[in-house]
Symmetry: C2
Subunit: 121 residues, 2 copies
């Protein structure tokens, strides 16, 4: 039921970890399952130069977060803000409909981290 | 928010995998989050001699399944049937209330695998 890309990002998630001196940190919880996701960003002149995430969430949450970090790395803040969970799921060749709620975590964590960045400045 | 035992079983889950010639296989889905769990049993003279599981579920599902396999290994079918998700969560020194629904997967997968065993005989 899961695409090869989902399985790949689940088994070998990219950019897992934390950034000690992050410029923005976003923590979001999933109202459906109660899982938590934390996203760390380094930002230089409006460009996301590094990103890491940590989650206790399920395979779909891990795969979408991993893909989301690859999508936004090297992008400007404006570009990152246009990333939707549907686009992340599409980049993974889709998710089962009942697991789309997991992909919301990644989008919201990026937005929360960017909001944190603006608040801190 | 997670106990040391939960983190231990999440980071080093016991008995992950499949059993090719299993005597009973149980597949269950979680109505809350849509996650799936598969449990494989080897049974000899009414005793569970081996057990493996596979899940795409979250950290709490992984930890409870791992603990559940340790609890039922070497037990009789009758003893295994009395294992509740609350007992598994307690053996892990507890789970956050909003993650208790994840522990249900382990209990139900064991029961489904035992039902499959009885159906096959
Ligand atoms: S959130 Fe699905 S099993 Fe935990």
């Amino acid at each position: 039921i899961y695409s090869d890309k989902v399985m790949d990002h689940f088994n070998h998630p990219r950019n897992v970890g934390i950034i000690e001196d992050a410029d923005g940190v976003g923590t979001v919880g999933n109202p459906v399952c109660g899982d938590i996701m934390k996203m760390y960003l380094k930002i230089d002149h409006g460009v996301i130069t590094d990103v890491r995430f940590k989650t206790f969430g399920c395979g779909s949450a891990i795969a979408t977060s991993s893909m989301a970090t690859e999508i936004i790395k090297g992008k400007t803040i404006e570009e990152a803000l246009t990333m939707t969970n549907a686009a992340v799921a599409e980049a993974l060749d889709g998710l089962p409909p009942h697991k789309m709620h997991c992909s919301v975590l990644a989008e919201e964590a990026v937005k929360a981290a960017l909001a944190d960045y603006y608040t801190k400045r």
